[in-house]
């Protein structure tokens, strides 16, 4: 088990390297120059050259990448080209906000998805099943920036009961009170639509498969009551369902760019969005690296949970 863990942690090094390299290359393939974002459009050429030199942007790309890498290895993610603040300082708060948003969205999505999926499976072939599956397909198919805007129009503009953007008063300091939480509701509901749909379909599929297995007949044959059979089914469904949920949680953390932008939620998504438009390379690189590491460690946690849930999976 210890060796398995160590091996998995070592695996993250090549993943981190690969992700950083690809991201670095993509930024430089895209048109535009970070200097354009910093210097005024009419700045004289020698000033631009001076700036380029100061930020190290005149060096060859492999050298730029190596310098960044050496700094990261020493725990230094660099400074934002735009604000001049430390990347890590900006990220710290943003990660907290993204985690808060994605965990709440995941809780909503996974809870509804599990309930809908299990219900659809229990009533498979009936109108209940068809309605829930239709709901799931809708959840997956709706573009969530569109859903976000519609929710804003309804709840913030027309009904005026929920705030449309931001993360509440007091800047970055978050407290779990209504004053702050009301800002979380709309983005979290928007973000939960896709995982709700995917988990509904997944859980329905797995539960139907488990219910069709012979051992369910054995359980009925033993005279067990429905509630008792349900716990058996649950324990059989849990390993695969938790794997899909873990992946979804990963996507939520990395994939909330659009939703965070629509709601101006100060998380990593908004940070990324700004960094992309301003060609803020250190910010972009740092954020992506940290998100990739989050995703990888989440996968590891899911694998470990699965091992404890399903005795047939052995890690050694």
């Amino acid at each position: 088990m210890i060796f398995y863990l160590l091996r998995r942690i070592l695996y993250t090094i090549p993943i981190a390297l690969g992700v950083s390299l690809i991201c670095f290359m993509l930024v430089h393939i895209a048109p535009g120059d970070p200097i354009n974002a910093i210097a005024p459009p009419d700045a004289p050429l020698d000033v631009v050259a001076q700036l380029k030199h100061e930020y190290g942007l005149d060096k060859p790309l492999p050298v730029q990448f190596s310098i960044w890498l050496i700094h990261v290895a020493q725990g230094d993610l660099g400074h934002s080209l735009v604000t001049g603040r430390s990347v890590w300082e900006e990220l710290k708060d943003a990660i907290g906000n993204t985690l808060r948003l994605s965990l709440v969205a995941a809780t909503i999505g996974f809870f509804l998805g599990s309930v809908f999926g299990a219900t659809a499976a229990a009533f498979r072939g009936t109108w209940i099943d068809r309605t829930l599956v239709a709901l799931a397909v809708t959840g997956v198919s709706l573009p969530h920036y569109w859903l976000g805007m519609v929710l804003v129009v309804i709840f913030a503009v027309l009904l005026n009961i929920l705030p449309a953007m931001g993360a509440g008063p007091g800047g970055m300091a978050w407290i779990w009170d209504w004053e702050h939480m009301q800002f979380l509701i709309l983005p979290a509901v928007t973000l939960s639509a896709i995982p709700m749909g995917i988990i509904t379909r997944t859980v329905r599929g797995i539960v139907v498969e488990v219910l069709n297995q012979d051992f369910v007949t054995t359980l009925r044959g033993k005279g067990l009551l429905k509630s008792h059979i349900f716990t058996h089914v649950l324990k059989n469904v849990a390993p695969s369902a938790s794997a899909v949920m873990g992946l979804q949680l990963g996507y939520l953390m990395g994939g909330s760019i659009l939703v965070e932008t629509v709601f101006s939620w100060p998380g990593t998504g908004l940070l990324l969005n700004n960094a992309i438009f301003q060609r803020d390379i250190p910010m972009l690189q740092g954020t992506i690296l940290v998100l990739a590491m989050l995703f990888v460690s989440l996968n590891l946690i899911v694998d470990l949970i699965q091992t404890t849930l399903d005795p047939r999976i052995k890690r050694s």
Partner: protein, 327 residues
């Protein structure tokens, strides 16, 4: 007047249909038999003859939303046709138990063997977990599982097919049922393991005094374990009788064909006789003997009229017009 002695199982004109939007399958089409405790009945038939459906209906285990059942079905004095789902679940596992064909898939893969035995006992007898665990250990020893104590904490995938089937038997016997139903329990096992399981079942049946109904397509297995054999075809018993008599002088052409298509020692070199054709489609139930299209002795009357059960001697009967013309 009330009868003094009611048999353990009493089946009269049992019919089972599976109804869905696309088709109706007539799986069981009028079966009558009695079974006493201590008695072993073997139901012999090929795939699709309705034998498993008949067996499952003895504890109403067929899918409830698709199954239509009619006739009389009494087990241990209780009417199963009118019983509620709650009454049935009280009966299942306590009065009637079943052993299934595939020991791998019939056990829950993520629950320990001990737990799967104990939960049955807890469900029906309401005893504590510790007591139930102790009973589970006794049961594993009863079915002769080596190092039973360790096996209590084993998962099904950690055991061989033979051991899993023994564990399945332990679950079935957990609450000392009066009636044990066995659905081809040895079909999925190796030949050497098969005979061990059969011997174990026979021994347990004697010790616990259960009535046993054993479904199989294997004549050898039937000869090994049964007091009586019933031959099933297209959802009906077409012949019934004590094991040795039925094997020695089969009455129905189908039974004769089955026995002819079995390998005996001393037959080396001679040609094996097979029954031509395939069993009928049970979606369309026709009047007439279901076996007639495959029968070498069929007459025109066979196609028009379903033969009645004829008793030739006490305990022996068959559904064939040839018997009527012979007497």
């Amino acid at each position: 007047m009330k009868t003094i002695h009611e048999p353990l199982v009493q089946v009269r004109d049992l019919r089972v249909r599976f109804v869905s939007k696309d088709a109706t399958v007539h799986a069981v089409n009028g079966i009558d038999f009695d079974l006493d405790s201590h008695e072993t009945l073997c139901v012999l038939g090929e795939s699709g003859s309705g034998k498993s459906v008949m067996l499952r209906s003895l504890m109403r285990l067929n899918p409830p939303n698709k199954t239509v059942i009619s006739g009389t079905l009494r087990v241990n004095g209780q009417d199963l046709v009118t019983a509620t789902e709650r009454q049935l679940s009280d009966l299942r596992g306590r009065v009637v138990s079943m052993i299934f064909q595939e020991p791998m898939t019939a056990l829950d893969p993520v629950f320990k063997i001990g737990k799967q035995i104990a939960e049955t006992i807890i469900r029906h007898e309401g005893i504590s977990r510790a007591e139930a665990d102790k009973r589970a250990l006794d049961l594993l020893e009863l079915v002769q599982i080596p190092s039973a104590k360790e096996r209590l904490n084993a998962y099904p995938f950690e055991m061989s097919g033979g051991l899993r089937q023994r564990a399945m038997i332990a679950i079935a016997l957990a609450c000392k049922p009066k009636l044990l139903l066995a659905d081809e329990p040895t079909t999925a096992l190796d030949a050497t393991v098969q005979i061990q399981i059969l011997l174990l079942l026979r021994k347990l049946q004697k010790e616990l005094g259960m009535g046993v109904i054993f479904v199989t397509h294997d004549l050898g297995v039937a000869g090994e374990i049964a007091d009586r054999i019933a031959v099933m075809y297209a959802g009906r018993f077409i012949e019934e009788g004590p094991t040795s008599e039925l094997m020695r002088s089969p009455l129905h052409p189908y039974t004769q064909g089955l026995l002819g298509a079995t390998v005996h020692p001393g037959m080396r070199g001679s040609r094996l006789i097979t029954i031509p054709g395939a069993p009928p489609n049970l979606e369309h139930l026709k009047e007439g003997c279901a076996f007639a299209p495959r029968c070498s002795k069929a007459q025109s009357i066979c196609l028009n009229q379903t033969p009645k059960t004829m008793q030739t001697s006490p305990g022996r009967s068959a559904r064939c017009v040839l018997l009527a013309s012979a007497t």
